[in-house]
Symmetry: C2
Subunit: 350 residues, 2 copies
């Protein structure tokens, strides 16, 4: 099975010493990725952005290619006048983290109204706003729903700003999105399509399935599946692949994030197949609303106004066992048998 | 400050090699404890019960005393004719674990109706039924509420059986209890009075605050506080102190249970004081509905039809830092400063 090589519109590539392994795992499967800016220090200037991209490029194995769509971190303190230079340096979007909602977000935004000048400038420049849509206060399972009024305020106040609600997890968010204009899209991760909070804390506690936003109820998961399989085009793939070394996951206090890059396409291929949804556009019949290829390799590019990737992803029907770890990072589905092996043509083994 | 030495109507004393440290920590503060039977193998015969009690007694430090109220594990396979012998060996109650809800409960009960003969016999013998009140299926936050119809069935079907709903965590359970006859009581832990799910997974993930039932919302916690401070007498103290070695807590898959024995009385003293509720009955005014002494040293004993303890607990106003660990176990509030030091008079340092 061959499909257009996929995009991942939400990845954390981290920094050294993790960076090299993560970049190579990612480039093995993905042709283009939207790189999150919550590094330490955060990406808040053209220079930092260019340096980070150079580090990523230098981390690739010989012969590997990875197209990096860069983002900057939206802070209340960020001078709007720096945004043209960020765009010129290659930024396609800016990421809004409400303060304290996830890894390295302590410096995030306390009130979305405080970044109006930056949002105004982003709208003018055609930059996309990527949003971690959780209210920093409130009960952990309600935070996404409680953020929706802020999202609506942004969408209404900036009438031509393109906005992506990242890693949606709740039926409430899916329904809110569907009522919004088409310039508002959303990414959906592979893990939120597969797990609920019961998988995280319903039996024993499983830190490697712990992420922000936390997985919700089965009814929420079903709405996410319906959104993906509905083929509206506004729900596209962003893995939120977010590795942490095992020492920072399995401890008295563990970080949020699931590392999915090496398994995402294999897991998605099984999921789509199990739901009777074709993998490639070539195999899509009139009665099929969508395909895996559309979810991972077409709809996101169209939303961002980008050309489709020219590379190919080979999805071979070949069982393999997910390694217990990639370097110091435990991946999603560690130790499980997957039935598709995903490899980008032209990429090298990581 | 001196109060009647406390009871703990729900403890896990575990087995060697953990047993000795746990028993000594517990005997340092508590005069009498209700011992849970979910050992491996479980306590399901008079012989096993007597052996376990002997092991506990042998684990005490020289000069320490701990009165053990023993329980057995209610299994569908347990012959009701063994119950008189269990009572004779010293069992005061039998513990119902629905299958799979917590540590060592894989052999638990799948349908409460399947243990009618055992419940009938317990009622006849005057044994108390202790219930882990969670439905084994369903969403993790709903399991306690979903078990309530089963509880109501038990209470209605066995009209003179005394029943304790253990470690209640939800407003739904508190309200259901309040509508039931007075022979139905409930234990409340110290950690469920202090934490919500936000403390477990709202920031980073904290395995040492992970327990079953999982902590719920702030509104649930407030109902638990109201139940305790209301002084109805039917909500009494059971810590569910449930130690696991750090290696079984901080791993890719961690066990449920919070170790509170060494800190429970100190933490409760602060909590009651911070809410303006007196610690001792001597200090209780007419306007005070209850006291810490009532919660930990009177109401449970009255429910079980037992004499009050004769020992004294000294609650000294003396700051101390909770150790990072007791042996291999990380306690609740590790590293925190507490302002009351609790020590049972006549007990030895563990």
């Amino acid at each position: 099975m061959r499909i257009t090589a996929p995009d991942d519109f939400h990845v954390h590539l981290r920094q050294a010493p993790l960076l090299q392994g993560i970049v190579r795992d990612t480039a093995h499967v993905f042709e283009r990725v939207l790189v999150m800016p919550n590094t330490d220090p955060p990406i808040v200037s053209a220079e930092l952005l260019e340096n980070y991209r150079a580090e990523i490029d230098a981390a690739l194995a010989s012969g590997q290619r990875l197209s990096t769509l860069m983002t900057f971190k939206l802070l209340s303190s960020l001078d709007p006048e720096t945004l043209p230079a960020l765009k010129e340096a290659g930024a396609v979007g800016g990421k809004l983290y409400p303060a304290g909602v996830t890894t390295n977000s302590e410096d995030g935004v306390r009130d979305v109204r405080s970044i109006s000048p930056q949002l105004e400038m982003m709208q003018e420049l055609g930059l996309v706003l990527e949003v971690h849509g959780e209210s920093p206060n409130g009960f952990v399972l309600d935070r996404e729903a409680e953020f929706l009024p802020d999202l609506e305020w942004i969408v209404t106040t900036f009438p031509s700003l393109r906005v992506v609600l990242e890693h949606v997890t709740s039926a409430a968010a899916v329904h809110a999105l569907e009522r919004m204009p088409e310039r508002v899209g959303a990414t959906i991760t592979v893990h939120h399509l597969l797990i609920t909070l019961d998988d995280v804390i319903g039996g024993k506690i499983r830190p490697h399935l712990f992420c922000k936003p936390v997985a919700k109820r089965e009814a929420d998961r079903e709405e996410l599946l319906a959104a993906v399989f509905g083929g509206s085009g506004r729900f596209f793939f962003g893995s939120d692949s977010a590795p942490h070394p095992v020492s920072e996951k399995e401890a008295s206090c563990g970080c949020a994030g699931v590392y999915t890059a090496p398994v995402a396409m294999s897991v998605l291929a099984e999921l789509f197949e199990d739901h009777g949804v074709p993998l490639s556009e070539d195999d899509r019949k009139e009665t099929d609303a969508t395909s895996l290829e559309r979810f991972t390799s077409r709809d996101g590019a169209a939303f961002y106004g980008l050309e489709r990737n020219t590379g190919i992803l080979d999805l071979a029907e070949e069982e393999w066992v997910v390694p217990a770890s990639y370097g110091t990072v435990v991946p999603f589905r560690a130790g499980k048998i997957l039935r598709y092996k995903a490899k980008k043509e032209g990429g090298n083994e990581p």
